[in-house]
């Protein structure tokens, strides 16, 4: 948005302080920093605006073909259930698994299972191919604990609300279910609370700039070798996913094939676009940046219109979930948890496949939290006190299809408008910086 003028780079080696000043002045004049403060531009990978729009379209298509929505936490609960089942075979009889999320078979026999597996596969392929994979262990070990605890809170909250940033937001809003709107609003609140927490010094830990030390870079040959290795691995995983797709298609299980294809696409797109719902909300509170949130709204508009068309054309009933206090509390907990953990359900999946070990702990935490909720559903009376009697409010039947569409789009417009203050302030800041130069 504010491109620097191009000029030939200064090549003088730097020795003394005045030379540094001169060199940096020349170098900054030739710096090619073009602002990417818009959802439609990215200096690395894919810009989030178009990616969110593509995800919206694909999720509507997935719903059209399979009749289910793109979702992950339901499967996380099943994964947790499978683990506990190893120790206690009566787990499938928990009220949660009887009523809400059925626990039968294994992950690879379900579309939901393959969505999770293929998402991990797809984002791993994307990360490896782009050279983004690196095993990363946080220097501050507290991050691992924070990710785990945050994951538990997020998983617990998501399942209480019947979905995470996917089923109760990105694919919930296009289903015209009121619970998704309430969840989204409450998640925004939760993330705001989360930001207050993570900026406390004892949570964050210290930062001190140290005097620079000369560093030897990896040789270009070694870099190229590593990238080749990673790309070869990516190709193998890609072939594996392709084989699964073809295998299922040829053996009369087309829905699983569809799940593999769509899951892979989702996974690759979220990694290349760095589609993180946590960041979309968190950036609003931390740095006053609306880039990802604007992209999210765009994606929701596309998803809502596309899903509307699917619903109208096929005449199927939309998928509606109960809305009530469980949505409110679950949403706040989810928002808090994803900021504590540093990533949401999509964000931690692609971060995990980028090699970020804190994301692995967030993943495990999510499974634990979801399973805890499943246990507490009847054992602690969660369903009885917070969910029983909660109505399922479907905007399509309440208002009629076209008014429901208009209402949803208007609400998305209102969301975009609500962020206008943040957006213009940031733009003003960027302009004032440009003007001062």
């Amino acid at each position: 948005m504010h491109p620097e003028p191009d000029s030939t780079a200064a090549a003088a080696p730097v020795a003394t302080a005045p030379d540094v000043a001169a060199a940096t002045a020349a170098a900054s004049a030739s710096s090619t920093h073009v602002s990417t403060d818009t959802p439609f531009r990215s200096r690395v990978g894919l810009p989030p605006g178009p990616v969110f729009a593509a995800l919206g379209l694909l999720s509507a298509l997935y719903f059209a073909i399979t009749g289910t929505v793109w979702a992950v936490t339901g499967e996380f609960t099943r994964l947790g259930g499978h683990v506990v089942e190893l120790f206690d075979p009566t787990v499938p009889q928990w009220a949660y698994f009887a009523d809400v999320v059925h626990l039968e078979g294994d992950p690879l026999s379900r579309t939901d299972g393959w969505i999770v597996v293929a998402m991990l596969g797809g984002s791993l392929v994307a990360a490896l191919a782009a050279g983004d994979f690196r095993l990363r262990v946080p220097e501050l070990r507290r991050r691992l604990v924070q990710a785990f605890v945050g994951g538990i809170v997020a998983g617990f909250g998501a399942r209480m609300a019947f979905g995470c940033n996917l089923a109760a937001m990105f694919t919930g809003i296009p289903q015209f279910s009121l619970h998704a709107w309430v969840f989204t609003a409450m998640t925004a609140l939760g993330t705001w609370l989360g930001v207050r927490l993570i900026r406390l010094r004892w949570w964050q830990g210290p930062t001190i700039p140290r005097p620079a030390v000369a560093r030897t870079a990896m040789t270009p040959e070694a870099k190229a070798r590593r990238l080749r290795r990673h790309r070869a691995t990516a190709a193998i995983i890609g072939l594996g996913l392709l084989a699964a797709t073809v295998g299922y298609a040829l053996t009369g299980r087309p829905m699983l094939a569809v799940a593999v294809v769509f899951g892979t696409a989702f996974g690759a797109l979220i990694q290349r676009g760095q589609i993180c719902f946590t960041a979309a909300f968190r950036d609003l509170w931390v740095t006053g940046k609306t880039k990802l949130a604007d992209a999210l709204v765009l994606g929701l508009v596309v998803a809502t219109v596309a899903t509307f068309i699917v619903l109208q054309v096929t005449g199927t009933a939309p998928l509606t979930k109960p809305v009530g206090w469980h949505t409110v509390i679950g949403g706040v907990l989810f928002g808090l948890g994803i900021v504590m953990a540093g990533a949401c359900e999509t964000g931690m999946m692609y971060r995990a496949t980028e090699g970020q070990t804190s994301a692995w702990l967030a993943f495990i935490g999510n499974i634990v939290g979801a399973t805890v909720l499943a246990y507490g559903w009847d054992h602690w009376g969660i369903q009885r006190t917070l969910v029983a009697g909660a109505p399922k409010i479907d905007l399509l039947t309440t208002f009629g299809p076209w008014p429901a569409l208009a209402l949803s789009l208007a609400a998305l417009g209102a969301w975009s408008l609500a962020m206008r203050g943040i957006r213009t302030r940031r733009r003003a800041r960027l302009i004032s910086i440009e003007g001062a130069r």
């Binding site: 050279g131 990363r136 207050r196 900026r199 964050q204 700039p209 760095q274 740095t287």
Partner: protein
């Protein structure tokens, strides 16, 4: 991202190695490091969080600093050279600063370059001068530990 011609790139005076840090700390820490330095200082920030490849330059620039040259990419590690600049001003923050100067002792000690970034303690977002207010010092007295 191309590797930069190193002879054109001035040597940094300070560095912050944020490899291993997960979101959002690379951005937060970069801005805090910028806060701790005087305008004109050269800061090298290294990170391996792909989201920060995209965010750090934008946030550093929005914070009044400027990027020097192109980022250097080694596999999954990217380093940026930042020349610290003056924090951007907006009217609301200027008024807040003026009000604070009227009440001395409201400023926390030790925040040298952070003129006016106190804002309201922990206040997030676009209302204050800096998008990141310097974190509250109070609890550090209780838990105070520096690496």
């Amino acid at each position: 991202m191309s590797t930069t011609d190193d002879t054109a790139r001035p040597a940094p005076e300070f560095e912050v190695d944020l490899c291993g840090e997960s979101c959002p700390y690379p951005v937060i820490r970069t801005l805090e490091a910028i806060d701790a330095l005087e305008p004109g200082a050269l800061l090298e920030v290294a990170t391996d969080c792909p989201q920060s490849f995209r965010n750090i330059p934008d946030e550093a620039v929005a914070y009044g600093s400027r990027m020097i040259g192109e980022p250097i990419r080694e596999g999954a590690r990217m380093s940026f050279l930042i020349e610290v600049g003056e924090r951007p001003v907006d009217a609301k923050a200027a008024r807040k600063r003026a009000a604070q100067r009227a009440t001395p002792g409201a400023d926390a000690p030790g925040a040298t370059c952070s003129t006016g970034t106190q804002g309201s303690a922990g206040a997030a977002g676009a209302g204050s001068d800096a998008p990141i207010a310097v974190p509250r010092r109070g609890l550090r007295g209780l838990f105070g530990r520096r690496a």
